[in-house]
């Protein structure tokens, strides 16, 4: 059984007892425990079920590489599935529950898959579940989906908040083991700005567990001193609980800091994402121990040797009373020593190497432990917990020599450097034959913005394994002088062992797990190779090797080796799969951070926003803005409100908040020439004080925006754009000015938010302005399409005499800060003239009644001005403008294009939005032929009937013809082609 020892445990504070629960069972633990150590202290070895066969799964590791120990943590709005127990700090009251089983962890129906595992090899689902056809979606898939998946589904909105922060450094050192600390000290002493990131709460890494001396001091003391020194330096920031998750181009490093993960609900953010821009990254990320592949290596109680040692030294935990150690290297003997020191039994060390000589094995032998040379494990006994192992000759086929009773197996197949960050941006690896590992190839690092290497790996992350190698390597990164020295013994060569025993037959191979979470075995990889899935990527995808939540941290190298062997090729010829961020799974909330709810995207408000809010507004999102769709009175429907607004504006006086309209100032000696290129019409000849309507096209010739251009002075023009188009058009202008016409003397400024703009519309428009007083707005002084600047009712105002409704109308711009006051002044002054505010829907109807086009309705990126009968807005005289050449292409110049017309239903109803006019027959692909479509359609309160505009093939030549528009539910709407201007065709109202 696993239990807490009476003594020991560097990381736990025995004076601070806490209680956690696991599947409802309360378990005592100490502050400093991880969830894994906490349950192990309470003899809970089995913590979950595997993905495919639902086999019992125990804790295997002590760090980020853990493949099995995932639990649901917390409840309600703080419930989090798939929490890795080995890296999650235990806290008082933590509620955990195991995953992927039904009805319980102990008894799981899904384990039936295990019984049939022989018929469910890698990729079996590609070969079956095909008949009958409808069964995949309706029967097989739902079943597979239900039994797959790991964690439970969170249901509530997250109760926590998350933050993001930015930092800048010359050097970021990732990992605060002895390699990282050494490199950080070197970098810091050379005066660089250094950030050190350590993912665990404590520094020191493996050295403090292995317990040798550095420069005559116990490793623990040396580490403490190094940390103190770094913390004392102004140019160093050391962050623990901070995981470098991914490296992106140009030295952009993401690091996730756990802040309140272990103190939930204390008001602090749960996590903080650091976005760090750095000139250089030093990866001192250590190495991960590899399991060995023997039959039954997935049974709870089989663990990585270093993890067994970690639990003993760091947490004072005995995994079992009798631990058999199986290894191919010297390092695992440290585990034997640690266990012996803790008073536990080690029946034997099974070493695959034919002869074992090193100092560490000798120390173990000296303490009376048998070392079985050239041996391996043929098979592990046990179901939910290890009960013993069969020992065999490693070189043989698995015949049992002896059986050893034990309740823990500590295995070590050597070490793999953590090369993830090195690889994220293209750093290359080399295969180190002597150490049997892939490690960073210093000659092919990932390149930074300057084309030079931006990452260096040091220590175990660079393939250095003995403490002296590690320190020498790390010291060389920045240091001068001599590297720190240790008293650690030399280690003999490891010998690669990819399967155990070497000659194991198919039966044993089908029980050797490579990926314990996804249930990928040696036999699956061999099957993939046999079937031609030879590329490592094919094997991975076919078998799902390395696709589990640990992303193959412990399984990949073993899998590669098995694959290489099956293909009779060297391991480097097989290569690795791609290392992708994040290093360990990263909470989505941390990535989204503050951007949620109301502030998901910044809300742009006009100066009059709050007034609308207080007056029954119904909002419509327009880009980042919100615009009033209409204003509802008590008891009024949206439709009724819109109709009221239309009628009132046509008969009395309407006010529209037009502040969202884009207002871009274009200024400079070449401004006129520039605008002549940008617009299809001529703007350079516009006299000062005059307004002109303009169209803008993209290079393809398609209409992209429209608006009124005003000549403010000799060298400056004010360009109005659509509300949604302002930023895009400003960007478009700058694109041309910066990239193509960089020598033209033009400046642009987006003034959209500097002004509030109000449209004053209707027969009483002039009256209300005259009442405000201060400016002559008469027809004679301020005729249509002119503008004047001055004082209006005490406000500094620019008054544009323009109309988008067919009514007598003015658009008035005042400084944004005065927008609200000016609006209220107009409302007040307008009372006697029947003033009402109106929204965007009314605006649309007013313009549609007049046959005016709307960008986004009549246009969709495929429409040219000529289609809209707007050739009048295109200058024939200009040699060029953006879009001219595009419009000359044969398809755009074709007489067969669909053109804008008005549409009137025969029965007065409203045509459906977006409906198509059908033509007889079908095309070569069997699709119904069409000859036009509805672009705008409204109920017109003015005419008391439906009106619409549409694009129709040869439309303007077909006035009076009736078209069929199939609508919903089989109904066909009939509409007649008419003139697009429905109301006040002579323009008398505007001319008032």
């Amino acid at each position: 059984m696993s239990t807490r020892l009476a003594r020991g445990g560097r990381l736990i504070d025995r004076s601070k007892p806490i209680t956690i629960s696991f599947n409802g069972r309360r378990m005592p633990a100490f502050l400093g425990d991880t969830l894994a150590s906490a349950v192990l202290a309470n003899d809970q070895m089995m913590v979950g079920r595997s993905f495919k066969y639902h086999r019992p799964r125990g804790i295997m590791a002590s760090g980020a590489e853990e493949p099995n120990a995932l639990v649901g943590l917390g409840a309600g709005p703080r419930f989090e599935p798939n929490q890795r127990m080995t890296t999650t700090e235990a806290f008082d009251g933590a509620e955990t529950a195991s995953q992927n089983h039904w009805p319980s962890l102990e008894f799981d129906i899904g384990a039936i898959n295990n019984k049939f595992s022989r018929f469910l090899p890698g990729g079996f689902y590609y070969k079956t579940f095909m008949w009958p056809r409808s069964f995949w979606k309706n029967v097989y898939e739902p079943f597979i989906r239900q039994s797959a998946g790991l964690g439970k589904v969170p249901t509530d909105r997250d109760a926590d908040r998350y933050e993001q922060a930015y930092a800048y450094a010359d050097v970021v050192v990732v990992g605060a083991g002895i390699a990282g600390l050494t490199a950080a000290l070197g970098a810091a002493r050379s005066g660089k700005r250094v950030i050190v990131l350590e993912m665990t709460p404590a520094c020191g890494g493996r050295a403090v567990v292995d317990g040798f001396a550095i420069d005559g001091q116990p490793a623990e003391g040396w580490v403490a001193a190094a940390v103190d020194t770094l913390r004392g330096m102004d140019n160093v920031t050391l962050m623990t609980r901070t995981m470098a998750t991914g490296l992106y181009d140009h030295g952009y490093l993401m690091a996730a800091q756990r802040i309140a993960d272990h103190t939930p609900g204390d008001g602090r953010p749960k996590q903080r994402l650091w976005r760090i821009r750095t000139a250089e990254v030093i990866t001192a990320t250590g190495a991960i121990e590899r399991p060995l592949s023997f039959a039954g290596n997935d049974i709870p109680g089989v663990m990585l040797a270093a993890a067994v040692r970690d639990y003993a030294v760091n947490y004072g935990i005995s995994i079992g009373d009798r631990t058999v150690i199986v290894t191919n290297n010297d390092d695992a003997y440290r585990t034997a020593l640690a266990l012996l020191d803790a008073g536990l039994t080690v029946p034997a060390v099974i070493d695959a190497r034919p002869t074992v000589t090193g100092a560490l094995p000798q120390a173990v032998r000296d303490r009376g432990v048998r070392v079985l040379e050239g041996r391996g494990i043929a098979k592990v006994h046990g179901g939910k917990r290890v009960t013993g192992v069969e020992v065999c000759v490693q070189a043989g086929e698995g015949a049992m020599i002896e059986e050893l009773g034990c309740d823990c197996v500590a295995m070590s197949g050597g070490w793999s450097p953590v090369v993830h960050l090195w690889s994220h941006c293209g750093g290359k690896l080399l295969w180190d034959e002597a150490r049997a590992m892939f490690r960073p190839d210093a000659n092919r690092p990932p390149l930074g913005a300057d084309g030079r290497g931006m990452v260096r790996a040091v220590g175990a992350a660079n393939g250095m394994l003995t403490p002296d190698e590690v320190l020498t390597d790390a010291h060389a990164a920045f240091g001068d002088g001599t590297a720190p020295q240790t008293n650690a013994p030399d280690e003999a060569r490891m010998e690669p062992v990819w399967i155990m025993p070497q000659g194991a037959g198919p039966k044993l191979r089908a029980k050797m797990w490579l990926d314990p979470q996804n249930d990928v075995k040696v036999s699956d990889v061999q099957l993939a190779a046999r079937e031609g899935y030879e590329s490592v990527e094919h094997t991975k995808r076919y078998t799902t090797l390395g696709m589990a939540t640990d992303q193959g941290k412990i399984s990949n190298i073993n899998g590669l080796a098995v694959l290489s062997d099956a293909l009779h090729q060297q391991i480097p010829a097989t290569g690795t799969t791609t290392f992708r961020p994040p290093y360990t799974p990263l909470t989505l909330g941390t990535i989204a951070a503050e951007a949620r709810g109301e502030i998901f995207q910044p809300l742009r408000r006009t100066p009059i926003h709050e007034w609308h809010e207080a007056h029954g507004v119904e909002w419509e999102p327009v880009g980042l803005w919100r615009r009033p769709f209409c204003y509802k009175r008590a008891g009024e429907t949206t439709h009724a409100a819109v109709n009221r607004e239309v009628r009132n504006t046509r008969t009395n006086l309407g006010l529209l908040d037009a502040s969202t309209l884009g207002k871009i100032l274009v200024k400079g000696p070449d401004a006129g020439k520039f605008l002549d290129m940008l617009y299809t019409g001529v703007m350079s000849t516009l006299p000062v004080g005059k307004c002109r309507y303009g169209l803008m096209c993209n290079e393809q010739g398609f209409l992209s925006d429209d608006g009124v251009v005003v000549r403010l002075s000799e060298d400056s023009w004010l360009c109005h754009t659509t509300s949604g188009g302002a930023d895009r058009i400003h960007g478009w202008m700058e694109d041309w000015l910066q990239c193509e016409w960089w020598d033209w003397k033009v400046y642009t400024a987006n003034l959209t938010e500097q002004f509030a703009q109000i449209a004053v519309v209707g027969p009483n428009a002039r009256k209300v302005l005259e009442k405000l007083g201060g400016m002559d707005v008469s027809k004679a002084t301020l005729p249509f399409m002119t503008f004047a600047e001055g004082q209006l009712g005490g406000f500094n105002a620019r008054v544009f005499r323009i109309s988008f409704s067919g009514e007598l109308s003015y658009e008035i711009a005042v400084p944004a800060s005065e927008g609200r006051a000016f609006w209220e002044k107009l409302i007040e002054a307008g009372q006697e003239f029947g003033v009402m505010p109106y929204g965007t829907e009314c605006l649309h109807i007013l313009r549609a009644e007049k046959g005016f086009i709307m960008i986004g309705d009549e246009t969709d990126g495929t429409v040219i001005p000529q289609d809209l009968n707007m050739a009048w807005a295109i200058s024939k005289k200009k040699p060029d403008y953006l879009g001219k050449r595009g419009q000359e292409r044969s398809f755009l110049a074709s007489p067969d294009r669909w053109k804008l017309v008005g549409l009137e239903t025969l029965d007065g109803s409203v045509l459906p939005e977006g409906a198509y006019a059908v033509a007889p027959g079908v095309n070569a692909n069997g699709q119904r032929n069409v000859q036009g479509r509805v672009t705008s359609t409204y109920f017109s309160p003015t005419l008391n009937r439906g009106i619409a505009m549409g694009l129709v093939k040869h439309g303007p030549d077909r006035m009076g013809e009736v078209l069929d528009f199939p609508g919903d539910g089989g109904k066909v709407h009939q509409a007649r082609i008419v003139d697009q201007v429905f109301y006040d065709k002579e323009g008398a109202k505007n001319d008032a």
């Binding site: 599935p81 095909m130 964690g151 030879e534 990527e537 986004g856 939005e913 409906a915």
Partner: protein, 415 residues
């Protein structure tokens, strides 16, 4: 080739699965083929398959510089739909979708086509109008889609946040028989079937040059030597510009990185595919239980199959806002692929200025769904030497005429 079936799996199981043969052969290139296809992605493999199946042309080699299916075919988020706006698009995507319905049976390889239903959310009035228009167009095109209101959306997607606050869901364009399939299986299934017809799939064989005489293609140079052919099909997605240059012509293609990511697996919680184009993100849940997430392309051209952090962040923000319960899930893996974008966001299936050389590219962010239809149509184009109704409008010369098939009209990003 051994047929796959539940029975065969059981039989082989008794023998520890030692009896399975190769899914596809691994041949050395021959001196000459009738047809060479460059690129063993889904589109290249499907082209070869239908050349054999529909036209009896089996002396075919498919040359792949890496591993088959290793390009975008093995990197995409597997959304299948045909609710496109423009007629030519709807025709080819619906052809593809309908072929997907029976693809597992046709190939004797389970590609796990799952018509689980697909929603495109409308979150602005503008989108509402756009999607209504699409529904009308689809109905006339023979594509079954419908417009559904917010209540129905909530019913289909219980985990969705319908009422904003920033962008309330106003409804959705719903294609009940849209869905997903297993991307690798599509490539592998076609590869196995091609190999079975006697075609040679040659991996680790990069085309480095195109040989021609008298304005006609005669063969290719590769890292495994020169190979002759009568007809050549270039089906290389993000590397099309590179191959076109070898052929001496240019195409209006830009190469951009498109990213995707998955969460850790959880139990089933979303049966449909949801695309939210206003906020720029989409999500589905794989059979393994991972939430499969994607967004828009990076804003700059490049050839590295990884992308910028900013885009991942934008996409996740959009989806946490749309599905608040995913906030405490974790991103397991992110990756990128190089997509081949045309000016009108529609593909090119075309003859080229070089005689007997054909091109199939420009599928950009959304070509997985098109694989069977594209292969079908491209095979016709190559076999007959002239476009059929499915390919006619997708000629590379349409840009010269301005005859765009603009799909950006309907959706910001077309996956």
């Amino acid at each position: 080739m051994k047929r796959y079936s539940g029975f065969a799996v059981a039989r082989e199981g008794l023998n520890y699965h030692l009896g399975w043969g190769r899914a596809w052969r691994n041949p050395a290139p021959r001196k000459k083929y009738d047809v060479i296809i460059v690129g063993a992605g889904g589109h290249g493999l499907a082209t070869a398959y239908y050349l054999g199946k529909n036209y009896g042309i089996r002396n075919v080699a498919i040359l792949e510089k890496g591993w088959l299916g290793g390009g975008n075919t093995g990197r995409n988020t597997t959304i299948i739909r045909s609710n496109y706006l423009q007629d030519p698009s709807a025709a080819i995507y619906e052809k593809a979708r309908s072929l997907y319905e029976t693809l597992s049976q046709d190939l004797n390889y389970n590609v796990m086509f799952s018509p689980r239903g697909l929603l495109m959310l409308a979150q602005t009035h503008h989108e509402v109008r756009g999607y209504r228009r699409t529904v009308y167009a689809n109905n006339l095109q023979g594509v079954e889609t419908e417009w559904i209101g917010p209540d129905r959306v909530k019913q289909l997607v219980p985990i969705i946040n319908i009422d904003g606050p920033r962008y309330p869901v106003l409804g959705a364009l719903y294609q009940a028989r849209g869905g997903t399939a297993r991307h690798d299986a599509v490539a592998w299934g076609y590869a196995r079937a091609c190999s079975d017809m006697g075609m040679d799939i040659i991996q680790q064989c990069e085309v480095t040059g195109i040989r021609q005489a008298n304005g006609k293609v005669t063969g290719v140079d590769t890292t495994k030597g020169s190979i002759d052919c009568d007809k050549l099909g270039l089906v290389v997605a993000g590397h099309t510009s590179v191959l076109a240059e070898m052929g001496g012509f240019r195409l209006p293609i830009e190469s951009l990185a498109l990213q995707a990511l998955v969460s850790e697996p959880i139990k089933p919680c979303m049966d449909v595919v949801v695309m939210a184009n206003t906020v720029h993100g989409y999500m589905s849940q794989s059979d393994k239980g991972e939430m499969v997430i994607g967004g828009g392309t990076d804003g700059f051209n490049n050839y590295t199959q990884r992308g910028s952090w900013q885009h991942v962040e934008e996409t996740i923000r959009a989806l946490v806002e749309t599905f608040p319960m995913i906030s405490r899930l974790k991103m397991l893996r992110q990756w990128g692929g190089i997509v081949d974008m045309t000016g009108d966001r529609s593909p090119i299936l075309s003859k080229t200025p070089l005689g007997n050389c054909f091109v199939n590219c420009g599928w950009g962010t959304g070509g997985f769904k098109a694989i069977p239809g594209s292969g079908w149509a491209m095979a016709e184009l190559m076999a007959k030497g002239a476009p059929g109704p499915l390919t006619e409008e997708f000629s590379m010369y349409r840009f010269r005429e301005g005859k765009f098939i603009d799909e950006s009209v309907a959706a910001g990003v077309a996956h």
